[in-house]
Structures are given as C-alpha cells and as structure tokens.
C-alpha cells in the first residue's frame, strides 16, 4: 500500500514536471507557432533569477513564484520586440534566430556566472510514507503544474483577454479591423509564454541544480510534449504529459532512466504517425 502511494506520487511528479516544462512552449509554439529553440534557456534564466534572488536574501517562494517569471517575462518581451516580431510566419528563420538566441543566452550567463553547477537547497524536507521517504517538494511541483494549467485554461476560455488572444492568433488581420492591436497581443502572449517558462525553471531549480546548459535537458521533452499535445493547448499538453510522464516513469522503474526516455520518444513517433494532430485530434474525435 505504501509502495503504491509512493509510486503514485512519483508518477504525479513526473507528469507535473512535464506539464511545467511544456506549458510555456505550448503558448509560444502551440498557440503562436513560433519555434522557440531557446525555450530551455528561458527556463534556465528563470532558474538563475531564482538563484540570484535567493542568494541575495529574498524569500525562496518569492524568488521562485515572482522573480523567476518576472525576469523571464521581461526578457521575453525584449526578445519579441528586437527579434521575433520581424519573423512571424517565417518558420526556418525563427528556428535559426532562436537557436542563435539560445547560444547567446548560454554564453552570456556562462560569462557572468561561470560554468559550474550551483544548487538551491530543496525546501520542505522529506515526508515518510511507511518505510519510504519522499521529498515534500514533489507536492509543490504538482500544485504548480495544476495552477499553471488552470490559470492558462481560465484566462484563455473565461476572460475577454483570452478571447482576444485566440482570435488574434487565428486571424490577426480581422482582429485589427475590430480594433485590436495585434502586435501588442503577440508581444504580450510571447512574454507570458516566456514568463511561464521562467516559472518552470524557478520551480525546478531546487531539484535540478542550476547551470547555464541546463536548458538542453528540457527542450526536447518540451517540444515532444507540445507537438504530441496538438492544437488544444491545455487539454493537449495535459494528456501528452500524462501519457509520456506515465510511460517514462513506468519504464524507468523497470529498466532504468535511459530506457524510460527512449520509450517516450518511440511512443511519440507512433502517436504522431497514427494521429498527426496529436492528442487534441483524439480528444476532438471523442467530443464529436
């Protein structure tokens, strides 16, 4: 029984981690179709912002939940203004530009902070379940993922802002004719995606360590999750995270982490071969 509880918590943590890694990219790539290869570096920036704020004496939770998304969001707005704005609709150019951005961010952070891994102590300690012990911080991961998904869904579906964002991304020319400044909407949406990526970096920093190249560990998982999730931003990202998180964790239990990662890739390829629209296509089919 204890073992089952521990497995369930580990599984939830794996799913939540994937949700956090993918959420920012789901906004920037899933909605806006901007291939942001620097997504992992926005997470890295959030992690460093958390580290710096915490080291400077700020409360850890403020560092994670306020400073990290704020810094990444502001940087996202600057990047959108200087770089991305000129490249909407130009897929290959965006890919190259954000790759360049990714290298720039890694280089800049390395030259400022050095190439050594720094740690933030994992707060809250451990919780005992029977003879097993797990980190209580897992709960923070799960709650953060739930909060990010719920907030994204609520904003997109229940507010005027969300309606304007969805309409503008579907047809910017028509939105303009209805009084919407589409550049402003694009800029703010990109900054929000960057802020969510920064938040993910901040939340994951205490368990992953902080190093300039940490983004590389996240980028592939983020793209696999978002592409397999498909057009439905929240439902797609959630279902892809549940399936991939579940598979990864199950296979890792049996055969180790390398096989877990490999199996996720294999399943993603099969899913996209069978359902090119990803999990959203499946969910849409169910509804209709």
């Amino acid at each position: 029984m204890d073992y089952l509880a521990v497995v369930a918590i580990e599984l939830s943590t794996a799913i939540a981690t994937l949700v956090l890694i993918a959420a920012g990219l789901a906004i920037i790539f899933g909605m806006m179709r901007v291939i942001n290869v620097a997504h992992g570096e926005f997470m890295m920036l959030g992690a460093y912002a958390t580290l710096m704020a915490y080291t400077a004496g700020l409360n850890l939770w403020i560092s994670v939940f306020i400073v990290a998304p704020l810094v990444a969001g502001i940087w996202g707005a600057i990047v959108e203004f200087l770089l991305i704005r000129r490249l909407y609709g130009r897929v290959a150019d965006t890919l190259l530009a954000t790759w360049g951005l990714s290298l720039f961010m890694i280089g800049a952070v390395t030259s400022i902070f050095g190439n050594t891994s720094k740690g933030i102590p994992t707060p809250l300690g451990a919780v005992n379940i029977g003879q097993y012990s797990i980190s209580a911080y897992s709960l923070v991961l799960v709650l953060s993922a739930v909060a990010v998904l719920m907030a994204t869904w609520l904003v997109l579906n229940k507010t005027r802002l969300g309606t304007v964002v969805r309409a503008t991304i579907q047809n910017p020319d028509m939105a303009e004719a209805l009084g919407v400044d589409h550049r402003k909407v694009y800029s703010r949406t990109f900054a929000t995606g960057a802020a969510v990526a920064g938040l993910a970096g901040g939340v994951l920093a205490p368990i992953s360590g902080v190093v300039p190249t940490m983004g590389a560990a996240f980028i592939a998982k983020a793209f696999i999750t978002v592409i397999s999730g498909g057009a439905a931003i929240v439902a797609g990202a959630l279902s892809a995270s549940v399936v991939f998180g579940g598979i990864s964790q199950a296979v890792t239990f049996v055969s180790g982490a390398v096989w877990g990662e490999a199996m996720v890739l294999f399943v993603a390829v099969v899913i996209l071969r069978v359902m090119p629209g990803g999990f959203s296509e499946f969910l849409k089919g169910k509804r209709s």
Partner: protein
C-alpha cells in the same frame, strides 16, 4: 480642406499591390449617413478601395480623411477605433471561436454585464444568431456566417460599414434580412455604408447613390434607380 459633413474623403489616392498600381489618382467622398454603392468589373479596384480606406493597403500618394481627420498613416486598429467598420469578402469569421465570442470581439468592453447587454441588443437585430451562440463560427452556413460578420461589425456601433461583396453564395432570404437590418441601423443609429457589390438588386435595395469604378478611377455617379435600365448598366459596368 475637408468639410465637416464629409464622413470619408479619399483624395487623389494611388495604391496597389507590389509594383502594380490599382487605384489611379482616385477621389471619392462619402457623406454622413449616406449609403453609397460602388459598381465595377472584377479587377477594377473596388475591394482595393475598401482595403485602402480601412488601412490594409498604404496610400502611395494622396490622402484619406475620416470626419476631417487625416487617417492616411493610421494603422487598421486605430481606424477601427475611430468608427470605421469592415465586413470583408469571405467574411473572415474566427472559426474556432463560438458565435458569442465572435460577437464579443466586435466590442471594446471589459465589463461583463455591459458586454452581455450589448450582445443581447445586437441579437434583437439578428434573431437568427440567438440559437447559435454556443456553436463555433467555423461550422455555420455561409449565410449565417455573413450575418455573424455583419453583427460582429455592427455590435461596436461603427459610424460606417465598409461592406465587401456580401452576397457571394448567400441564399436570398438571408440577403433580405441583411438589407432590412442595415436599413434599420441607418434609421435608428444614423449608420453610413460603403457597399462594393456585383448583385444589382442588392445595390438597388440599399444605395442612395451609386458610383462606378473603372481602371482605378471613379468614372461616374448615378441615381440607383437607373440600374433598372439594362442599357445604363451595360454602359457603365457591362454587367448585363
């Protein structure tokens, strides 16, 4: 100098696509409260004129004024906020938004209760849309989409609607509804209309003045009643 009674004034304007000039030193005035029809062959520049007024195409020369204000360099959304409404050819409904959300896009309001009142008010003019509020715009019929596009424009209470080929592929009973609604808006809210159309009956039903457009220039103006005379139509636009 632009007179205060002029709603839209296009003066000596040239524009086009790439290096191809479509409008050639075109001048046109639309009066407050006027319903103006624009007739012309395909490719003569009717839609280009509408897109120029709305700001989708830059003026290469000349100027566009709205209520005396020079809007030549304004962006599309700035013109929309001044009171220019646009219903494009092909309707451009947001397909993945519900009918209600499409309507809300036409409103510049953030107060939920006010938005709801405005939606209810517009549904009074478009009762056919009431039962479709929860449907996605993309699944509506062509006629329903045309009604929605018009309602989405009118809900924001624009001073003028620029209406581009609204009859394309639409069943006659919906066209009648569109005519009745626009005339009601004119009467109740002093709406102005610039209508680009090839359907002569539709132009006849709505326009108080018709101008003809040939090779990027306004070549004449006439009383719409003259459109009932086939020889006149043949002479001006060759549509018979």
């Amino acid at each position: 100098m632009v007179g205060p009674h002029k709603l839209i004034s296009v003066q000596n304007t040239e524009t086009g696509y790439g290096s191809i000039k479509v409008l050639n030193r075109l001048s046109l005035d639309v009066q407050e409260g006027e319903f103006l029809g624009i007739l012309g062959h395909n490719g003569m520049g009717k839609s280009t004129l509408i897109r120029l007024i709305m700001g989708y195409l830059p003026a290469w020369s000349g100027s566009v004024h709205f209520r005396g204000k020079d809007i030549t360099r304004l962006s599309i959304h700035e013109r929309a906020l001044l009171g220019l409404g646009y219903v494009p050819q092909g309707r451009q409904i947001f397909p993945d938004l519900t009918v209600e959300e499409n309507l809300l896009m036409g409103l510049q309001c953030n107060i939920k209760s006010k938005c709801k009142t405005d939606v209810d008010k517009i549904l009074d003019y478009f009762p056919r849309l009431s039962r479709l509020l929860d449907r996605n715009g993309g699944v509506l019929s062509g006629g329903e989409q045309q009604l929605l596009a018009l309602a989405r424009c009118l809900i924001g209470d624009p001073a003028v609607v620029l209406l581009d080929e609204p009859t394309e592929g639409i069943q006659p009973n919906i066209l009648d509804e569109i005519v009745d609604t626009l005339l009601r808006f004119k009467k109740e809210r002093s709406l102005s209309l610039v209508l680009v159309e090839q359907n002569l009956d539709f132009i006849l039903d709505l326009s108080e003045r018709v101008v003809t457009l040939e090779s990027g220039r306004i070549t004449g103006a006439m009383d719409p009643k003259r459109l009932q005379d086939p020889s006149v139509v043949q002479e001006y636009v060759g549509l018979c």
